[in-house]
């Protein structure tokens, strides 16, 4: 009970947060934070714990979003069903992607997934009859105007993701993942079917990202290939969320998402800095990699030491 106390307090705080009477803009930012932390946690499962750095998580995000969107535009079903259906669809896609990309290791896997993400975007742009091409999909009637309900739904999904990741990592599966990350050949020689477990990690990670994508469709009400299959705004920001927060930590993606989303809003709302937001993100990324390679959570002891030396006696 005592061990779980911080988690319970945070949960209660998050639940009562909308009751404070935050502005619509603030609620939007909170929803974005949870979406990004959800993708970050999913990425962390594959990249942080299993060691397979993916540069193409936009592919899963986009497929999830398009599953929900196409349900609405082609079949006339409520896009909320996409939350459930996207799990099946994205898992199927993940199996195919895994079959191709998991033959590669390390940086080669990273680049293959990057190419994957781009291909999904190009296909979605070119299959005009099916996806609507660059016109995208627009949901005409929104479920709610107020953001509170959206907030609670994504909060539920985010908490679910957090516990799924935690449970998986604490189980035997998690140990297999970490052993693959540390030394794939050694893991293989110990009798771990590395291909199988890498595929499991990829499917889990993909499905969780896909659910986030399906929610995004419902929440924003509009998607097009350039938005949901974006290389910089989804795939790379996801990596940054995890890198900034802390690779292979439970709270890393959440901390990273808070920092990244607020930073992005801060930069974009300033007109003179707005054009340079990718430069600033790039410099932040380079800075983090050189000085805090394990992120804020992972290198917390280092940070604390640094600030103590900085002159604040404790």
């Amino acid at each position: 009970m005592k061990k779980n106390l911080p988690i319970i307090i945070i949960l209660i705080l998050l639940t009562v947060l909308p009751l404070v009477g935050l502005s619509s803009y603030m609620m939007h930012i909170l929803v974005l934070v949870i979406i990004y932390s959800m993708i970050g946690m999913a990425w962390n499962l594959l990249g942080g714990y299993c060691g397979q750095v993916s540069f193409g998580h936009a592919a899963y995000f986009g497929v999830g979003a398009y599953t929900a969107g196409l349900l609405y535009s082609k079949l006339g079903v409520s896009p909320w069903w996409g939350l459930i259906l996207s799990i099946v669809v994205v898992t199927a896609f993940s199996l195919v992607i895994g079959f191709i990309c998991l033959r590669l290791r390390g940086p080669y896997f990273a680049l293959a997934t990057l190419a994957m993400g781009e291909v999904f975007r190009v296909v979605a742009e070119n299959l005009v009859k099916f996806t609507g091409g660059d016109v995208g999909i627009l949901i005409r009637e929104r479920t709610w105007v107020v953001k509170t309900w959206y907030y609670y739904i994504i909060l539920l999904l985010g908490i679910g993701t957090f516990f799924i990741v935690k449970k998986v990592i604490e189980s035997k599966l998690g140990y297999y993942f970490v052993s693959i990350r540390e030394d794939q050949d050694a893991a293989n020689s110990l009798g771990i079917n590395t291909t199988l477990y890498k595929t499991i990690a990829l499917c889990l990670s993909g499905a969780l990202t896909g659910v986030a994508g399906a929610f995004y469709m419902n929440y924003m009400g509009y998607i097009d290939p350039k938005v949901v299959f974006a290389l910089h705004d989804i795939s790379i920001v996801t990596i940054m969320v995890v890198m900034v927060g802390g690779v292979a930590t439970y709270w890393g993606p959440t901390i990273g998402a808070i920092i990244m989303v607020f930073l992005a809003e801060l930069i974009r709302s300033n007109p003179s800095l707005g054009v340079a937001h990718q430069t600033l993100f790039g410099i932040l990324l380079i800075f983090i990699i050189i000085f805090l390679p394990n992120g804020i959570v992972g290198d917390f002891p280092k940070l604390r030491k640094l600030f103590r030396l900085g002159g604040t006696p404790t």
Binding site: I100, L111, A115, V247, F281
Partner: protein
């Protein structure tokens, strides 16, 4: 029938010309990969930098893009060594959970370069209006009774020719000079090279510089036949990567063949399926290479005792 043959041959020639230029981009990446064991995801962005150098030299000083090769390549060489020394080397020393940190680092470098280009040069599409842009050779001009007519654009042909010259020069450099041999030794076995008295650190810096210079030169050659915008880097990074996989990781000979294959395949998809599908075609060939020929063309060469 003759029209079909003509179309096919024309596409084939366009593919080979494109492939020669692709090979130049691919070689740069494969060299860096072979020696430093890292993937340079800022490769396309470095090419974009090279193109902008050539573009501004043309616009401001009216220097022909083909001459700017001699300006852009050394500048990119220096930029490459700087990047290697101040950004990549420190990261190689840092302890972290993920070994792919260097790859993510190069993504960061690429983002900064692309965004800086957008800020300073705006995101407009630009091209260099060279005088010979529309000049072309026609087969019927030289052979009156030819059954098919094939045209060959002057700037494409010249770009291809220079790319071939640079490639041959690089081959001589790598096989005939001491520095070149040291670079190849470092790629083969770092520790052994170190024991043999090769200055490995300097070789790595030199390789990164040469890789950047090659892609900068390729940028100058692409400028007269292509258009230029800050976000063009990403697609060329992908192209370079597909070529390296297709050719076999770290193999220069493979990269040349891979480049030509990709060039032909791409112009075929563009002609017969439509321009928008070219990236998908690129990816299909990439997947096919991974599934059926995991070692790339280099493994075929090796089994036939053709390559080294």
């Amino acid at each position: 029938m003759a029209v079909q043959v003509e179309l096919f041959l024309q596409t084939l020639i366009a593919g080979i010309l494109l492939g020669g230029l692709y090979a130049l981009i691919g070689i740069g990446m494969t060299l860096i990969m072979g020696v430093m064991k890292i993937i340079n995801l800022a490769h396309g962005e470095l090419m974009m930098v090279g193109m902008y150098i050539a573009f501004w030299l043309f616009t401001l000083l009216h220097i022909d893009p083909y001459i700017s090769v001699f300006v852009a390549a050394p500048l990119l060489f220096i930029l490459g060594i700087g990047l290697q020394k101040f950004l990549i080397n420190p990261v190689l020393k840092v302890e972290s959970i993920l070994p792919e940190n260097q790859v993510i680092l190069t993504v960061g470098i690429g983002m900064v370069l692309a965004n800086l280009a957008t800020i300073f040069f705006t995101s407009n599409y630009r091209s260099t209006p060279v005088a010979y842009a529309t000049k072309a050779f026609y087969l019927t001009d030289y052979w009156k009774n030819s059954p098919v007519d094939i045209s060959l654009s002057f700037s494409w042909a010249l770009s291809f020719l220079i790319a071939v010259i640079i490639t041959v020069m690089l081959w001589f450099f790598l096989t005939r000079t001491d520095t070149g041999k040291s670079i190849r030794a470092t790629a083969q076995d770092l520790d052994a090279a170190l024991i043999m008295g090769v200055n490995v650190g300097r070789m790595r810096a030199a390789t990164f510089g040469i890789g950047c210079a090659l892609v900068g030169a390729a940028g100058c050659l692409f400028l007269p036949i292509y258009y230029l915008f800050p976000a063009l880097g990403g697609q060329f990074t992908l192209i370079a990567f597909v070529i390296t996989i297709l050719g076999g990781l770290g193999s220069t000979n493979g990269a040349i063949i891979g480049g030509v294959i990709l060039g032909i395949f791409e112009s075929m998809t563009a002609t017969y399926l439509g321009m928008g599908w070219a990236p998908v075609g690129r990816f299909l060939i990439f997947v096919a290479a991974l599934v059926f020929l995991p070692g790339g063309v280099a493994s075929l060469l090796r089994s036939k005792k053709l390559g080294k």
